[in-house]
């Protein structure tokens, strides 16, 4: 079991740092298709921010705010975004995952961006849920 850390420096610093880590993770996801980065990398950093909070404050507190049920829903939601974009291309007449046919400005870039967001959400949920499973040992 991971308990709350006693030192007040660690608790305060992780509370201050966590939003910045998440912002950086979102930046890495969004810039995946034109610079180094992408869905998996951003998702891992996003998950790492929650794991940082769990290590500093104890796993029970984080589980209160981010329950396992919501994690499972996030896992599925990311895959559904991926499948939804794929099937929209399918329905509109082109092959699966053929972004050129989407009715938005700059279709190939926006299609890739949507897929990366889906992958990022799934990877974040999976990283946090692996951490939950491995650290609850009765």
């Amino acid at each position: 079991m991971i308990d709350k850390h006693e030192s007040i420096i660690i608790k305060t610093i992780s509370r201050i740092l966590a939003p910045f880590v998440q912002l950086y993770a979102l930046y890495v996801i969004m810039h995946g298709h034109t610079s180094p980065g992408g869905g998996f990398q951003g998702g891992v950093i996003l998950g790492a921010s929650f794991i940082l909070l769990a290590i500093a404050f104890g796993i029970d507190e984080v589980k209160e705010r981010f329950a396992e049920r919501i994690l499972t829903t996030f896992t599925s939601m990311g895959v559904f975004i991926y499948g939804f974009i794929g099937f929209v291309c399918f329905v509109l007449g082109a092959n699966f995952l053929d972004y050129g046919i989407l009715p938005v400005v700059e279709p190939r870039g926006m299609g890739m961006l949507g897929i990366e967001i889906g992958v990022g959400i799934t990877v974040m949920a999976v990283m946090v849920s692996i951490f939950y499973d491995l650290s609850t040992y009765e």
């Binding site: 599925s76 559904f80 499948g83 399918f90 092959n95 699966f96």
Partner: protein, 498 residues
């Protein structure tokens, strides 16, 4: 031409992937919905695979470009006669096993049915993806999806399951990493990952050492995955201690899909002349396979547990098919591909029967199966039909595939292999008659005592019984119609130069 006729190859794989992630969401909300959702997903895949197979029969191979990018830049799904046969086999056996798994899961793993159905669909996605894809790295991804789901599913089982699953994890990862290495070497030297494209580029490079090393790494990696003789040590433990519906799905299909990958890359990516003449691969494989047949049958004789005996028989069956591939003439390859289809059906039927016996009696010891023919007559009838097919008795399908294998061995002028195949038929007869004798005939002392124990009919539930009976009828039908299957599918698979 028609919209709906073009897009079915992707439906085979993507629908089950999405449903596999839908089931945990529904599991938190309403548990009863998981089973119907899984059946709907695999039914859609079965329907798509039948339409695709129909189209391949009448129009020739299908190519489907993912993302609209043409090969060699994009990933493609390439379905020709071998793929069509395998995908129909994988989807139909998965649907039958899924129908029968409901009662077993309720009895053996009462509170783990939501993860079971989700992982089941993910395993099916991996297996279906392996047989449909036409890109080397995409095959690695699907292979790992199937393997990871298999590791997790096996570990849910009984007492010794987690340790057996851990050994399977370590060995399976080595196999997949060797496959990845071979793909890497081929990419360095040719610059392409597409199977059809590699077939065009590679003939100029057959003398280079990189291609030789790539082929060797590939052979060893895929031999670990399909449990060829010296590398089969993970198989008995992992399949015996898995829960019954899990082993009914994984046991017939995972090794056969591994053999399909070997056939495809030996004959469709590398030219047959490379695999036979430049490297003595086929000679080595044929001797290893014949040793596998003998060792599998002999080790099965020593087992008392019914399921463990079946896993050692599986090692021998893999030996049959690899022997057929390695003898490399028209009859032997026809026998090998026919044996893939027959063996998957026979093994699925046998493992489902073991699941039914486990459900009703809770035991797997051969010597405790007395009076089973009065208790579960239909189940034991199906067991007898499957056993006759394994021994090679007509009109069951096992006879026809062994017939072609023996013809192929005679064509190759190798009488040792003929003797091996015939002897293993004898071994199979001994193995199965032990069980049939214990189940059907009473020992002599029961009559001497004068008592006649009355045993009532307590047949397995319908959802377990109907797939078993469908498969038993299918074994006989496949035997009768095997000529049609050969003329429709298999004669296009065998390379023209044989």
């Amino acid at each position: 031409m028609n919209f709906y006729q073009v897009h079915f190859p992707i439906l085979i794989v993507s629908v089950t992937l999405l449903f596999s992630f839908l089931i945990p969401v529904f599991g938190w909300w309403k548990k009863k919905l998981c089973y119907p959702l899984a059946i709907i997903a695999i039914s859609i895949s079965l329907f798509s695979s039948l339409i695709v197979a129909n189209r391949v029969l009448y129009h020739g191979p299908i190519r489907y470009y993912l993302g609209g990018w043409e090969p060699p830049w994009g990933i493609e799904f390439y379905i020709d006669h071998l793929n069509a046969l395998m995908v129909v086999l994988v989807t139909s056996i998965s649907l039958l096993v899924l129908i029968s798994s409901k009662k077993s899961i309720e009895k053996e793993l009462p509170d783990k049915d939501v993860p079971f159905y989700s992982l089941f669909l993910l395993l099916f996605t991996g297996l279906a993806g392996i047989v449909v894809t036409g890109d080397m790295f995409n095959l690695y991804v699907f292979l790992e999806i199937a393997s990871l789901s298999a590791y997790a599913l096996i570990a849910i089982g009984e007492e010794r399951a987690p340790y057996a699953a851990f050994r399977y994890v370590v060995l399976g990862t080595i196999g997949a990493c060797f496959y990845l290495l071979s793909v890497g070497y081929l990419y360095i030297v040719t610059g392409s990952l597409n199977m059809a494209d590699l077939n065009q580029i590679l003939p100029n490079l057959y003398h280079s050492k990189v291609v030789l090393v790539a082929f060797s790494f590939f052979m060893i990696g895929i031999a670990i995955k399909m449990a060829l003789f010296p590398l089969h040590v993970w198989l008995p433990d992992a399949y015996t201690y898995a829960p019954s519906p899990v082993s009914s799905l994984i046991a017939p299909l995972m090794t056969k899909v591994g053999i399909y990958v070997m056939i495809k890359i030996m004959f469709k990516v590398f030219e047959p002349s490379f695999s036979i003449e430049m490297l003595p691969v086929t000679t080595i494989l044929s001797w290893v396979a014949s040793i596998a047949i003998i060792v599998g049958c002999v080790l099965a004789l020593a087992q008392v547990d019914l399921k463990r005996m079946l896993t050692y028989i599986m090692v021998a069956e893999v030996g049959y098919i690899v022997l057929g591939v390695a003898m490399a003439n028209r009859n032997a390859l026809t026998g090998a591909v026919l044996h893939i289809v027959n063996d998957a059906l026979m093994m699925a039927c046998l493992f489902l029967i073991v699941a039914a016996i486990m459900f009703k009696l809770g035991i797997r010891n051969i010597y405790e199966l007395r009076f089973l023919h009065r208790k579960m007559p239909f189940t034991m009838g199906a067991f007898t039909i499957a056993a006759l097919s394994m021994m090679g008795v007509p009109p069951a399908c096992g006879f026809f595939s062994k017939w072609y294998l023996i013809l192929g061995a005679i064509d190759a002028n190798n009488w040792i292999f003929v003797a091996v195949i015939l002897m293993s038929g004898l071994f199979n007869a001994i193995l199965f008659f032990r069980v049939i004798e214990n189940a059907y005939f009473e020992p002599a002392y029961a009559h001497d005592g004068g008592e006649h124990i009355e045993v009532s009919r307590d047949e397995a539930p319908l959802s377990l019984l109907i797939p078993i009976l469908i498969m038993a009828v299918g074994i006989i039908l496949l035997g009768i119609f095997s000529g049609k299957i050969i003329s429709a599918f298999i004669q296009f698979i065998v390379p023209v130069s044989f």
